[in-house]
């Protein structure tokens, strides 16, 4: 299959999307950008190709697998087992790094205790992962660092409480060794990982694998040919692409939004460190745009900072804000000042959920100012970027847009985080067609 790849190297996450010759999205991959854009791009791209093979697998199973109603469950179980297998591979690498680290002089006095604690913690993480990938627990994040980190912290706290090494010392071991793990891409190929994953599929479903063995082998060996790739996003200059294959994220977001919602005329993208207000024509061509220039106030990191201040996860912020009963006006869109304002209002006795809802509204008001600079909101209005996943931000956007521009169709795709990469992949396809 001919593949056209779009890679969006954002400040927080790196996304890759693959489209086929008809422009259909066949694969998606995402990873945290870390400090190494090269690895992030490679990881996201590999994940997108894996996802593309699962897409092929799903279609093949539906068309010729002969599994009937059990097909979707088998496919989902196999995909989860595959991710589980990847997770365990990374966990093994984390263990190897930690064990090497424990040999250093830093642990002369407590090497044994630390080694024992590490064993207990890793066993706990493996147990947690089995629950997550077995479908028993919801995953908090798609990223190894987040998943393993949360689990590690929890078990390290328990070990420390039970008389083991100090919590800080245990967490320090993780912090030092997670970075090299993130920068080492998976070395096993799809076929090998799929075979290992099959062994993890629950028995009742695994019994069916003989029926689809040939099909799985065919998918694993299918030739996915990368015809062309286009890079976008902040780190795009890091990509080893010729200049014509590097596109600005403005154009990619504009086209991506148009492809997801063809009637889009205005796009708002709130990313980690920038906010973009984009106007597009009926073909998805950008006609005007504005971005925050001198200051990243009011961007995604604003919420991240507040979550850190509150010592809660970013994903918990939206649900908390949705419980607000009063509308509180937060004046500052400066990330640091907003933190101060948050503490000040807490001290004044205001409810956390009310304050957090006010912070969400402050972000959206800031975005409205940028939208006004770009020419306002025209119908239909598409909201993209990581903040689009936050329901409280979406609610505030609906309210503020309605107040300022009246009734609008507001589009928010569940996978809007891929908007830029979708645009980039489509540019790759279009460029290839022209050549």
């Amino acid at each position: 299959m001919d593949c056209f790849v779009g890679i969006d190297l954002g400040s927080t996450t790196t996304k890759a999307v693959i489209v086929d010759t008809r422009g259909r999205i066949v694969g998606r991959g995402i990873t945290n950008s870390r400090s190494n854009y090269d690895v992030a791009a490679q990881v996201a791209r590999n994940e997108a190709f894996t996802n593309a093979r699962f897409d092929m697998l799903g279609r093949a199973l539906r068309e010729e697998g002969g599994l009937g109603d059990a097909g979707p469950a088998f496919e989902a179980a196999l995909a989860a087992a595959y991710r589980h297998e990847c997770f365990l591979g990374q966990l093994q690498r984390l263990e190897n790094h930690c064990r090497r680290d424990l040999e250093s002089d830093r642990y002369t006095h407590d090497r044994r205790a630390m080694g024992h604690a590490l064993e207990v913690i890793l066993a706990g993480i493996r147990h947690d992962a089995a629950a997550v990938y077995g479908g028993g627990t919801a995953a908090r994040s798609d990223f190894f660092r987040d998943l393993a980190g949360a689990s590690y912290t929890e078990h390290a706290a328990h070990v420390a409480r039970e008389g083991g090494p100090a919590f800080d010392r245990l967490v320090g071991l993780f912090d030092r060794n997670i970075i090299p793990v993130e920068n080492e891409p998976e070395t096993r190929g799809f076929a090998q990982l799929l075979r290992s994953a099959l062994d993890r599929v629950p028995l009742s479903l695994a019994q069916r694998r003989d029926a689809v063995a040939g099909l799985l082998a065919r998918v694993a060996e299918a030739d996915l040919r990368e015809v062309s790739a286009v890079g976008t996003g902040y780190g795009r200059v890091r990509l080893p692409f010729p200049k014509e294959n590097i596109r600005s994220e403005i154009l990619c977001h504009g086209l991506g939004a148009h492809l997801m919602f063809p009637r889009t005329r205005t796009v708002l993208d709130i990313g980690g460190q920038d906010t973009k207000a984009i106007q597009v024509d009926e073909h998805g061509v950008v006609t005007s745009f504005q971005m925050n220039d001198r200051c990243a106030a009011g961007c995604g990191r604003y919420l991240g900072y507040i979550a850190d201040e509150m010592n809660i996860g970013l994903h918990e912020l939206g649900p908390l804000a949705l419980g607000a009963r009063r509308r509180i006006k937060i004046n500052s869109t400066c990330t640091v000042f907003a933190g101060a304002e948050f503490r000040d209002r807490l001290a004044a006795g205001q409810a956390r959920e009310d304050i957090v809802a006010g912070l969400h509204r402050a972000i959206i008001l800031r975005a409205m100012s940028l939208l006004a600079r770009s020419g306002g909101i025209r119908n239909e209005f598409t909201f993209t970027g990581g903040v689009g996943r936050n329901q409280a931000a979406v609610k505030a956007l609906h309210e503020v847009a309605q107040d300022n521009y009246g009734s609008l169709t507001i589009n928010i795709a569940p996978d809007s985080i891929y908007t830029g990469a979708i645009g980039a992949a489509t540019f790759a396809l279009q460029g290839s067609a022209r050549n």
Partner: protein, 422 residues
């Protein structure tokens, strides 16, 4: 790019400017009187007529910016109590003053004997010279130039400015110089001004050709140097512009693109009109962001702040005071918003531009106000793509290279995408 070769005109300009700063450095020992004044609405012919030496604080600030000095100067000014929101030209000037008033050639600048405040569109000028008056304890003479609120210069406006020149400005300058204005000489000077202006306009309008032989913004700021500063009305200026015109004529003949710091631009991919001043602290880097993408600025409003000549105005020797009045009132900084929009619209059309860009300066309140309106209106009228970036004149803290490069790349790609569709 071809290898960068310095043109003769550049050498000539450098010699002229060095000689001027050398004159300034020797002013006190030579018994010359010094007048500080501003670029828009400058009365260079009158000052030269009376043997007075002009110093232009905006030029000092931008020169300091290009030499990487303004970060420290601004810090010194802020320490002295000038807020972050004050015009950074002002703060750079104050900081330079507090640091020994060393000019761009490394020689000290003389203190002013008079501050000639030509108030031409920029209300900060008033406050700026209030500050300098306190520092130098010298007299201020103000020329009030009425704003072109209705978009035209009327006879009463002309009489009002000429009257101030006759009754207030010239007497003060004559007292300082210890001699009277030589009106025969003034008429000769104004005739020389008009000759240089003819050539400057020819050079700027050469950008109508494709490829343009000049960059009318980054190159343009060098081209306007002599006529905007101490040389209008001199044979030096006339010769410089003749030399420049000949060089551009040769470039046109050879079908060459503009000169850049890395040689001649080989492929003109985008023709752009720019509104707003350039950033001076990262001038080369900013320029590279344009020529690196094959973008040529074919017309700019900034090169008209010290005199707007391409709508036909020339200094007229037959009516010296009235023509100086017209010059002052006609500077780009003195135009109202509809006129600025109309001028930019004309540039976009006349120079067959692919789009236009606004470089907005936060601390420049009088010039930046209304630029978003200009953007929207020009998009509507011309259908061409508009871009908006923000930086600063001489405060290095407000030039975020990564962000500006990102915006510019996005902008040029937007222009290309739009062009491909049409």
């Amino acid at each position: 790019m071809t290898a960068a070769v310095k043109d003769l005109s550049q050498d000539r300009q450098k010699q002229m400017i060095s000689a001027h700063y050398a004159r300034l450095a020797r002013a006190k020992e030579d018994g010359r009187k010094v007048v500080y004044t501003f670029v828009p609405g400058n009365l260079t012919e009158l000052l030269n007529n009376l043997g007075l030496l002009p110093v232009l604080p905006e030029i000092n600030a931008l020169q300091s910016g290009m030499r990487g000095k303004t970060g420290d100067y601004i810090h010194i000014a802020e320490k002295a109590g000038h807020s972050e929101d004050v015009c950074t030209y002002v703060k750079a000037d104050i900081g330079m003053l507090k640091s020994g008033n060393i000019g761009p050639t490394g020689e000290p600048l003389p203190k002013p004997d008079l501050l000639l405040l030509s108030y031409t569109g920029c209300f900060t000028f008033l406050k700026w010279f209030e500050l300098l008056k306190r520092e130098y304890d010298c007299p201020v003479v103000m020329l009030h130039v009425p704003y072109q609120g209705d978009g035209r210069i009327t006879e009463p406006m002309r009489r009002y400015v000429a009257g101030q020149l006759r009754d207030v400005v010239i007497p003060a300058l004559e007292t300082l110089a210890g001699r009277r204005v030589d009106y025969d000489l003034l008429r000769q000077q104004l005739a020389l001004s008009a000759r240089a202006e003819d050539d400057l306009v020819w050079v700027l309008q050469s950008a109508r050709h494709r490829p343009s032989p000049i960059d009318a913004y980054f190159g343009g700021v060098y081209y306007i140097g002599p006529i905007f500063t101490a040389f209008r009305g001199t044979t030096d200026a006339v010769e410089y512009y003749q030399l420049l015109r000949d060089e551009i004529r040769q470039r046109l003949k050879g079908g060459l693109g503009p000169v850049t710091p890395e040689g001649t631009l080989q492929e003109e991919k985008y023709r752009i009109v720019v509104e707003g001043p350039p950033n001076w602290t990262s001038f080369r880097e900013f320029w590279r962001m344009f020529y690196g993408e094959g973008a040529v600025v074919v017309a700019s409003s900034y090169t008209k702040v010290g005199g707007l000549y391409d709508r036909g105005f020339r200094h007229d020797p037959s009516r010296p005071l009235e023509t100086l009045a017209d010059y002052c009132m006609g500077c780009y900084t003195n135009l109202n918003l509809p006129d600025r929009i109309a001028l930019l619209e004309k540039y976009i059309n006349d120079y067959a531009a692919d789009g236009f860009l606004i470089n907005s300066v936060k601390s420049c309140n009088s010039f930046s106000a209304g630029q978003l309106l200009i953007l929207r209106e020009l998009e509507k009228r011309t259908g061409r793509s508009g871009g908006f970036i923000e930086s600063d004149l001489v405060d290095p803290r407000y030039f975020s290279a990564a962000n500006i490069k990102n915006r510019l790349e996005s902008y040029f790609q937007m222009v290309e995408a739009k062009r491909a569709r049409t």
